[in-house]
């Protein structure tokens, strides 16, 4: 238990260390290549051309770069929530909600690339894609370009480029339209693919919250300096990401050619021994959230059940409304609301706390109903006997009704714990790296969703198993007949 608490403290500490000496930057490393990703599946070292750029910028402005993982979809909300100072993750200059964020000067530019199979003959340019199926990423630009110019195109959205490109390879889509630099990186790695067309241009900026004008000015100066001394070009060249758009952007800097040896990225064989410690750490996070979440759920659920049964009508009605509302709304929405919504009214919870609280109150509604059923199952005479002995209502509940009800509801309680353990995967969406997130991180890095998937499923299963056993054991010992039986074991009836 101690370790769980220290882990939470660590998360809280992370929240608090928002001092000036560090530059907290965020990106999504999941399918992050070649922007920001881990070198191998041990997730030990970050790499990627944006990693190189931000580290250089941090060095120039005299801060220490500290990386924060967050899901791509919620990078900007996290920024506004103050989880980190800047985001650098292929954010297109001027995109999104400009009123709330500031964009730096662009540090890179490229177009959208159309990728097809090498043996594809029908499609030679974007215009040929009418009447075909084209895969794109969750990116409004590609969709607009495609649907505006081509009326009969069928667009398929993919969560990440690897899924899109491997589906292309498997023939499920005819072409994929995505950022050139990503296409350039992957085309060498996945066989039988080629880039045939490039359209449009987008420039990438670092973004910061509206209030960070000073910081953005510093970053702008740093980018200018990197253009001038050629270090930006070196980084881009190192990653083999040079293109016409980018040359234009860099024009003005020195044209010095300092091409490092391009990093050789070959698909490594997955070494499970290397990822197991990571999964162990992630499993501790999952367990912490689940156990504390269940604790909150049981305590709160019991309170709600007692209020619902015994409180005056209007308070009990209030409890019923809470239960019904919590049961009737999706957990994911509650999670986003608590984490990204509540800061609006001044309640900013650290990710771990937000996760535990949300899972806890969501499951409290189910536990309240469990407890209510359990308490209703206790014969009325038990309460009467307790009252007749002079106990007040609370004492009767505390010593007579609840202990008996608890034995009744242990099986559904165990069920709910297993369900909560699995639902805890949702907290990966509020920046917590637990088992599920670790799975997608490592798998999207090693491109091995199969083997890693089996490993992570096994871990979930193994985590749940002891709790099922404990519950069985407790059930056995709380069941009164069983207890009476066990005390008679060996005697003849």
């Amino acid at each position: 238990m101690k370790r769980f608490f220290s882990l939470i403290l660590l998360f809280i500490a992370c929240e608090l260390c928002a001092n000036d000496a560090v530059l907290r930057w965020a990106a999504d490393t999941e399918s992050g290549a070649p922007n920001v990703f881990y070198e191998d599946e041990s997730l030990a070292k970050l790499t990627g051309f944006e990693t190189d750029i931000i580290e250089r910028i941090a060095a120039i402005i005299g801060r220490k770069a500290v990386f924060c993982q967050n899901d791509y979809d919620v990078l900007i909300p996290g920024l506004q929530r103050g989880l980190y100072d800047v985001v650098i993750n292929g954010i297109v200059t001027g995109s999104g909600n400009e009123r709330n964020i500031l964009f730096s000067k662009p540090y890179y530019a490229c177009g959208l690339a159309l990728v097809i199979r090498s043996d594809e003959e029908k499609i030679q340019s974007v215009l040929d894609c009418n009447e075909s199926t084209v895969g794109i990423l969750r990116d409004a630009r590609s969709e607009t370009i495609l649907t505006d110019s081509l009326k009969k195109v069928k667009v398929v959205f993919y969560p990440n480029e690897y899924c899109a490109l491997s589906d292309l390879n498997d023939g499920r889509v005819n072409a994929v339209l995505l950022d050139w630099q990503i296409a350039a990186y992957y085309v060498g790695k996945i066989p039988n693919l080629k880039i045939i067309d490039e359209i449009g241009e987008s420039r990438y900026s670092i973004v910061a919250p509206r209030s960070s004008g000073k910081l953005i000015a510093q970053i702008d100066r740093a980018i200018d300096k990197m253009k001038a001394d050629g270090s930006l070009e070196v980084i881009i060249a190192k990653w083999n990401l040079r293109n016409g758009h980018c040359e234009k952007l860099l024009a003005g800097g020195s044209g010095e050619q300092l091409a490092d040896s391009a990093p050789t990225i070959t698909k490594p064989r997955v070494q499970y021994a290397k990822i197991l410690p990571l999964f162990a750490k992630a499993a501790v996070v999952t367990l912490t959230i689940s156990i504390l979440g269940m604790f909150v759920a049981v305590v709160l659920g019991l309170c709600l059940a007692i209020i619902r049964i015994y409180a005056p009508k209007w308070i009990s009605f209030f409890a019923i409304s809470i239960i019904e509302f919590l049961r009737g709304t999706p957990l994911l929405i509650q999670l986003f609301f608590v984490f990204y919504g509540l800061p609006r009214i001044g309640i900013t919870l650290p990710p771990m706390v937000a996760g535990i609280v949300t899972l806890g109150i969501n499951y409290a509604s189910y536990e309240a109903e469990n407890f209510r059923a359990g308490m209703a199952a206790i014969p009325h005479g038990q309460m009467e006997a307790a009252r007749a002995l002079g106990m007040n209502q609370w004492q009767s509940l505390r010593y007579i009704i609840i202990p008996q009800a608890f034995a009744f509801i242990l099986p559904p309680l165990t069920n709910d714990f297993i369900a909560l353990l699995k639902d805890s995967s949702l907290v990966s969406l509020i920046t917590i790296v637990e088992l599920t997130k670790m799975y997608s991180l490592t798998a999207s890095n090693s491109l091995d969703f199969f083997g890693t998937g089996i490993v992570v499923a096994a871990i979930y299963f193994l985590i749940g198993l002891p709790f099922v056993r404990i519950a069985r054991w407790a059930e056995y010992h709380l069941k009164l007949e069983k207890r009476a039986y066990s005390s008679r074991k060996g005697k003849k009836f």
Partner: protein, 256 residues
């Protein structure tokens, strides 16, 4: 005190309704300390409800109950609910109750059944409570069963344990709601014997029962109720030999 000495239990004009259904109609009686009173009557006559009212398990609608100086008036409930329930709590301290269905706590051993309320309600030292519990179990003939759970006992044993549990609160009055009705015939006697023993020790007891023989032999008074009213209160021999009321005669004919 210049007041005339009051009887231990004084009930006057007690009324209890379930909606339109009048369960108790103006029930009044007095019981002196040390008496053993049997309440008999046909099913649904209100005798169980009367008993439960005496212990505030049922709310009284009209009238008043005084037990050992604690006076509970139905009218007070409307005036000051809080005060009423505090008084009810005081009143309960002097009253022990035994149920037809025993209502032992199934998740606790016999000893713990008896210790719990002492510790929780009377803030008794657990060691002392344990000691009293053992003594009481010994008294009802269950000395060897302290560590057993209720499930493993016979009906008669359970009911004796329930009596011991009620006695642990040192009540001045014991109420029994059909204590032998769910027992096998051969177990009835062991429970009745415990009540006879208590009578000899001077305990005031009110028993709602269908055991006419026991009522006849053991009780000081017999109360006959029908239709929510007390029809007849009399000396035990009197009512069996020469019932004053036709209704009593008809009822007893079926039993004797």
């Amino acid at each position: 005190m210049s007041q005339k000495p009051q009887s231990l239990i004084h009930v006057s004009n007690l009324c209890k309704n379930y909606g339109e259904n009048r369960i108790l109609r103006n029930v009044s009686f007095d019981i002196e300390g040390g008496d053993l009173v049997s309440v008999i009557g046909p099913s649904g006559c209100g005798k169980s409800t009367l008993l439960r009212c005496l212990n505030c398990l049922e709310m009284l609608d009209q009238g008043e109950i005084t037990i050992d100086g604690v006076c509970l008036r139905a009218a007070d409930h409307a005036k000051d609910e809080d005060l009423f329930w505090r008084l009810a709590h005081c009143l309960r301290q002097n009253v022990g109750m035994v149920f037809q269905e025993f209502n032992l706590f199934p998740h606790k051993t016999l000893l713990d059944n008896i210790v719990l309320a002492q510790v929780v309600v009377k803030k008794e030292n657990p060691k002392m409570a344990q000691k009293l519990a053992s003594t009481l179990l010994e008294k009802v003939g269950l000395g060897a069963f302290g560590e057993r759970f209720p499930w493993s006992l016979s009906g008669g044993q359970k009911q004796r344990a329930a009596i011991a549990r009620a006695l642990a609160m040192r009540p001045k009055v014991m109420l029994y709601d059909e204590p032998t009705s769910s027992l096998d015939p051969e177990m009835v006697e062991e429970v009745l014997q415990v009540m006879r023993d208590l009578d000899l020790e001077g305990m005031t007891q009110i028993i709602v029962t269908h055991e006419m023989r026991f009522a006849k032999d053991a009780s000081d008074y017999i109360v006959y109720m029908e239709n929510g009213e007390i029809i007849e209160i009399s000396d035990e021999d009197e009512i069996f030999i020469n019932p004053q009321d036709d209704r009593t005669r008809r009822f007893l004919k079926r039993y004797m």
